[in-house]
Amino acid sequence: MSESMYQQIILDHYKHPQHRGLPEDFDAEVHHVNPTCGDEVTVRVKLADGAIVDLGWDGEGCSISQASTSVMSGLVIGKPVDDAMALQDTFLTLMQSRGNAELSEADEDELDDAVAFEGVSKYPARIKCALLGWMAMKSAVAEAGWGASAHNGAGKIADSAGEPG
């Protein structure tokens, strides 16, 4: 058997998801779905002083989508929004690498646990699973007013609702 797509880090995050739960105090909420697996994720974000000060999520679906959302949460909370967007972009590049990513050491350090998803990039049917939470985060940040017109709409917004509570 070749190396499994299911790295221990992925399984750990699936079994013990981080930042799962929807915070009461938030600026925007988005709901994204991945029709391939029927994965769903709802993300709420709170921004302040150009940073993501809080993010919580809820969802159901395959382990790749849920674990990836968990990893994403841990990485972006407390980060300046610009850095979070740059990291999202690095993760997107990793997912589009078809298993041949050439990450710099700096990128690997930044991605941290998210590097474990590299194996997913070899399976076109599963890439959307790994990207689901990241795309939702990006949309939620845009919904919260970050960058306003600069948002390029890479994430698919299936439904969005929720004003600051």
């Binding site: 070749s2 797509m5 299911y6 699936y14 697996c37 395959c62 382990s63 790749i64 049917a125 599963r126």
Partner: protein, 421 residues
């Protein structure tokens, strides 16, 4: 000669390959079946030695290829025990066969002499809740075009009747308003084998046309269209160990002779005038344009192949496999069979769920062990809705499947469960 699965396996070159460094265990035959060497060779041989267009060329190659193509029609007619070879129409797949009927029926709205096929508001089209999308969507569209109503025979999702049609609903849903009844012989999502004769007889009693989707039945059990009593039976070639790109629609000649055409073009006409055209008799009326020649010929070879093994023998082999697999899978903690839990009136297709583990994770981890299964809603989403689940993992067997492979599946699923526990 007695059925011997090891002998059969030698006919399928792909079964000797490895996936992720381990021998391939292919349990996705309900999705598409693998091809024996004779089928692969038949297609290549036609192109290498006999190829030209059919029906219109007077030269030698044209005659050879026409004989081969029409010979395939004879083989399919015999395979289905059809009363006439002219009742066999080659289509692209079963989806096209069902759409051919749905569009021919709506063309009846304005086609002279086709009054008996016309649908109007108040008329009803009946399918079942266990249909594949290709036997739902064409009828939804036909209902939209004609104002007719689409109705569903429900299925039970629990108890001893789980995965079967609600018997008491059949006579209610199929009634004097029903004009078309289109239903699946063997469910691709549940494995259920439906009481075809019973439903076809009810359709006949109320004067409705009956159509049987035999995509999942043709590879697994003997088909006798005269015995079934339905008006139309369709299947696809690639699930019957044949090539992709070719399917079959059988219909009673009397109906085909009155049914308006679906696609217009070459070969389907009698005469063409700038003011209008008249149409060829069946089957050519329904085969517009250059057909899938090599694929139809190779489908004929696939029919020869399964006939030589014997459809009753294949049925028996797969019935044992199904019972063996159900026994094995049910030993796994928490595993739930979606569909009939016994091998009675069910085919060699088994859907299941594991608590807390998404089917795509199950299928992906099985793939890492060399085992190919399908995960998803199997293009039969209403079934998943009825069971209240997003998707299932499905293992499906074929003539080449062994008990060793089922053991590998059961071990593999148990490994998946351990990884997630």
């Amino acid at each position: 000669m007695a059925f011997d699965v090891e002998t059969v396996r030698k006919d399928f070159p792909i079964l000797s390959r490895e996936v992720h460094g381990v021998p391939l265990v292919y349990l996705d035959s309900a999705n598409s079946a693998q091809k024996p060497q004779v089928v692969i060779d038949a297609e290549a041989d036609l192109y290498a030695n006999h190829y030209a267009n059919v029906a219109r060329a007077v030269h030698t190659l044209g005659s050879e290829v026409t004989n081969a193509y029409e010979g395939a029609r004879d083989k399919v007619a015999a395979f289905l025990n059809a009363p006439s070879r002219d009742e066999i129409i080659f289509t692209r797949n079963i989806t096209e066969a069902l759409n051919l009927l749905a569009y021919s029926l709506s063309n009846a709205t304005t086609f002279p002499g086709a009054e008996r096929f016309r649908l109007v508001p108040g008329d009803e089209i009946v399918v079942t809740e266990m249909e594949h999308h290709s036997n739902i969507v064409p009828w939804q569209l036909l209902a939209q075009r004609t104002g007719a109503t689409l109705r569903f025979i429900p299925i039970d999702a629990s108890g001893p009747n789980s995965g079967r049609l609600v018997e008491s609903a059949i006579d209610d849903v199929i009634n004097e308003r029903t004009k078309v009844v289109s239903f699946v012989y063997q469910s691709n999502a549940l494995g259920t084998i439906n009481p075809v004769k019973r439903i076809a007889a009810r359709a006949k009693a109320v004067g409705a046309i009956s159509i049987v989707d035999a995509a999942q039945a043709a590879p697994h059990l003997p088909l006798d269209v005269q015995d079934l009593g339905a008006d139309f039976v369709a299947f696809t070639g690639h699930k019957l160990y044949g090539p992709t790109g070719v399917g079959v629609l059988w219909g009673r000649y009397e109906l085909l002779a009155q049914l308006p055409p679906f696609l217009g073009g070459g070969e389907m006409i009698e005469t063409v005038d700038v003011g209008g055209s008249t149409f060829a008799v069946p089957p050519h009326r329904f085969e517009a344009g250059t057909p899938m020649i090599a694929q139809a010929v190779a489908l004929g070879t696939a029919v020869d192949y399964v006939t030589a093994i014997g459809m009753p023998e294949i049925r028996q082999h797969e019935r044992s496999l199904t019972a063996y697999a159900l026994d094995g899978l049910l030993t796994i903690d928490g595993l739930r069979i979606i569909g009939p839990a016994t091998a009675i009136d069910r085919g060699a297709t088994i859907s299941f769920t594991l608590p807390g583990i998404h089917p795509h994770d199950v299928a992906q981890l099985l793939d890492e062990q060399g085992i190919a299964v399908r995960a998803g809603h199997h293009c039969a989403r209403p079934v998943c809705v009825r069971y209240g689940i997003p998707a299932t993992t499905r293992a499906s067997f074929g003539v080449y499947t062994t008990t060793d492979e089922i053991d590998a599946l059961v071990r593999g699923v148990d490994t998946v469960r351990e990884i997630f526990t």
